[in-house]
């Protein structure tokens, strides 16, 4: 806007000076000959006295110095004349209009004219450089008003222009934002208006893309649901058949049947984890934030894990729980925390504790929830610390069943935490064991959606 108004003002100023130059030309071309003719007529018709009056009136009213020369270059009224005027008169007699500017800021113009008696005269008029256009130049107040008007109009035009240009961009941003937060039906649509420019085409392209994304994601969701169903059907039949077999089995068969049940259970967990991971990776598990009380989840999971761990001579201790509320998916967060804790319990040495803490850290007005899980196991080689969050990654390449787990837990945790805008990291503790930290941004204001089913 500044640019536009500056341009406008500059153009006005230059036209003004061009104006002036134009006016000066007109003065020389039109006004001078008229004046000259008039002066000659007055002299011829009414004599020198009248001429003197005429010339002095020009002086008084217009501040013009006016001299009339005869055809020999002599000033008729015998007044003292500036030397330039005389010189100009002589050259003007050669029928060429001349004008010069004296350093003192006076502009002389000379015009030859012919009187009624046929005699040549030259009228020389000296004016202030500006006064030629005096009549035409507006006083300073008008100039200010003009400038203000220019600024105002420029501002208005700029504003309207800016809005017009950026309106589709704003609509596009709004639609993009809606799409990103999970509203797959977000479109720019009609709000783009009837424009036919590149921005409108961009809006149409966006809508097209959004449609593709929506159909891609819903077909992916359908595929995952189908896979889930198809994978679970044989497992469902398996477990019922297993139950039937147990009814009629000899006691010797019991351990074999137990083993089958165990592996079927592992298969089931694996399918579940894989599907969950696939959903997270594919982006079809989009976040619909509800307020989640992290402290509640952490204490529940810790208590359950402790109960299970005790049967294996290990313990889970919760050392600190700050109150933290986060906007997100309760089940996902629960799984994320569970996987890390379960992992720790699997790897911690017999007779040791897994220590868990939930801290709320505030800085610069932002709060972060930090969940730390520390075990007393063998730790992880430094170079693999980041890799443990990859799917199926196992330290040491052995499909080490004795430590339990399917190798997917941590990658699900990683993905789920990142989906909530957080991050995970693992470090080895100086006195042995591994420390895993989950950090999550606390919602500035957790969306207070009324839960569908009030929990007790």
């Amino acid at each position: 806007m500044v640019l536009v108004s500056a341009t406008l003002i500059a153009s006005v100023v230059t036209t003004q000076s061009q104006f002036r130059a134009l006016r000066a030309e007109e003065f020389d071309r039109t006004v001078m000959p008229l004046m000259a003719a008039r002066a000659a007529d007055i002299l011829d018709d009414h004599g020198m006295g009248a001429l003197a009056d005429f010339l002095s009136s020009l002086q008084t009213t217009l501040h013009w110095q006016a001299y009339l020369f005869d055809d020999e270059g002599k000033e008729i009224l015998s007044q003292p004349t500036p030397p330039e005027a005389g010189a100009m008169a002589i050259s003007a007699l050669q029928s060429v209009e001349t004008r010069i500017q004296t350093p003192r800021g006076t502009r002389f113009a000379a015009t030859r004219t012919t009187g009624s008696t046929g005699t040549h005269y030259v009228l020389v008029i000296g004016t202030n450089v500006e006064s030629v256009t005096d009549v035409l130049r507006a006083p300073i107040q008008v100039q200010i008003v003009r400038a203000a008007a220019v600024l105002f109009i420029a501002g208005f035009v700029c504003f309207w222009l800016a809005r017009y240009i950026t309106a589709p961009v704003r609509h596009l941003r709004a639609a993009t934002h809606r799409l990103a937060t999970g509203n797959l039906s977000a479109r720019v649509g009609a709000s783009a208006g009837n424009r036919n420019d590149e921005l409108a085409e961009l809006s149409r392209d966006f809508d097209h893309m959004a449609e593709q994304i929506e159909s891609l994601i819903s077909s992916q969701r359908r595929l995952l649901a189908d896979i889930s169903h198809e994978l679970r059907s044989p497992l469902a039949r398996l477990t019922v058949a297993l139950g039937l077999t147990r009814l009629h089995a000899n006691p010797e068969a019991a351990s074999g049947l137990d083993r089958i049940e165990l592996e079927a259970g592992r298969l089931n967990t694996l399918i579940e984890s894989l599907l969950r991971l696939a959903r997270l990776e594919g982006g079809s598990e989009l976040l619909e934030g509800e307020p989640v009380m992290l402290h509640q989840i952490v204490s529940e999971v810790a208590a359950d894990a402790d109960f299970e761990a005790q049967s294996r001579n290990r313990h889970v201790r919760l050392t600190k729980t700050d109150t933290c509320t986060i906007s997100g998916n309760k089940q996902l967060l629960r799984s994320a925390v569970e996987n890390v804790i379960r992992n720790a319990v699997n790897y911690t040495a017999e007779g040791t504790d897994v220590q868990i803490a939930l801290q709320k850290i505030s800085s610069n007005g932002n709060s972060t929830a930090l969940i730390s899980v520390r075990d007393h196991g063998r730790g992880v080689p430094e170079e693999s610390l980041a890799d443990i969050f990859l799917p199926f990654y196992r330290v040491g390449d052995a499909r080490d069943r004795s430590s339990g787990g399917s190798g997917l837990g941590l990658s699900i945790t990683d993905r789920a935490i990142r989906l909530h805008g957080g991050s995970v990291r693992a470090v080895n503790c100086p006195d042995g064991g591994l420390l895993i930290e989950l950090s999550l941004p606390c919602a500035a204001k957790a969306k207070a959606e009324a839960p569908k089913v009030p929990p007790a």
Partner: protein
């Protein structure tokens, strides 16, 4: 329950169970198992037939798969519930919370995630039946009629009367209300509510109790002064509020 031992069903005729699932082989296996436990079992493989049979008054219990093609599981459940209070146990995909909650809201009594241990299925069937038959069995020490404020509960007839009208409750909802009425104004923990009303232990992240309570609240409505009948006590359980007038 030890494997191979059937529950003593001598007190009443063999329970007739209807299994509705499109997996024919699974139905066969389930049938085999349940029959060995003393149940009478029939299977159908689509929703429409399932609904028709369920409403035909020939069964005491329905096992319904939510992932039915055609008339989908929930739709079938809705249709059954519209006309009958027959106990329904849903078969759901494991880990799909939303399936469970939706089913319970529509009115299923309980759910069983697939794959499942058939022993557990049998246990849940028994639990549901115990509730339904409780009125007709030898529970003579508990009063037949329980009254509280504007509600009258007949434990024998399994009927609830609110002011001038009868309220249709599923067997789980009835059982929950009966528990509340036996200890009005007392906080009942989630564990004991689930144990008595659903006949099983409380599982972690189990929202089924919450859904049943929510349904119960909806059906009974609030008190005259718009206060909530059943209040949730965070992390503990629920309490049926005794209004001031009856103190």
């Amino acid at each position: 329950m030890l494997p191979g031992k059937t529950e003593n069903t001598a007190d009443w005729p063999a329970t007739r169970v209807l299994v509705v699932d499109d997996d024919v082989e699974l139905c066969e296996l389930v049938q085999q198992y349940l029959r060995s436990q003393g149940f009478h079992v029939d299977s159908v493989y689509d929703g429409t037939t399932g609904v028709a049979n369920a409403l035909s008054n020939s069964y005491d219990m329905v096992i319904l798969d939510v992932m039915l093609p055609g008339v989908r599981g929930f739709e079938a459940l809705r249709q059954i519930r519209a006309k009958s209070a027959i106990p329904v146990i849903m078969l759901t995909a494991r880990g799909e919370d939303v399936d469970r909650i939706v089913g319970l809201e529509i009115g299923a009594d309980d759910y069983m995630p697939k794959p499942f241990n058939p022993r557990e299925l049998a246990a849940r069937i028994h639990a549901v039946l115990r509730r339904t038959n409780a009125g007709t069995s030898k529970e003579s020490h508990s009063p037949a009629i329980l009254c509280l404020d504007d509600i009258r509960l007949d434990t024998r007839a399994r009927v609830v009367h609110h002011k001038t009208r009868d309220v249709e409750l599923t067997s789980v909802e009835f059982e929950l209300l009966a528990q509340f009425f036996k200890s009005p104004g007392q906080v009942l923990t989630r564990e004991e509510l689930v144990k008595n009303a659903l006949g099983r232990d409380l599982e972690p992240s189990d929202r089924s109790l919450d859904v049943h309570i929510s349904n119960l609240r909806r059906k009974l409505g609030s008190f005259e002064d718009d206060t909530e009948r059943i209040r949730a006590i965070r992390n503990v359980g629920y309490v049926y509020v005794v209004s001031n007038s009856s103190l």
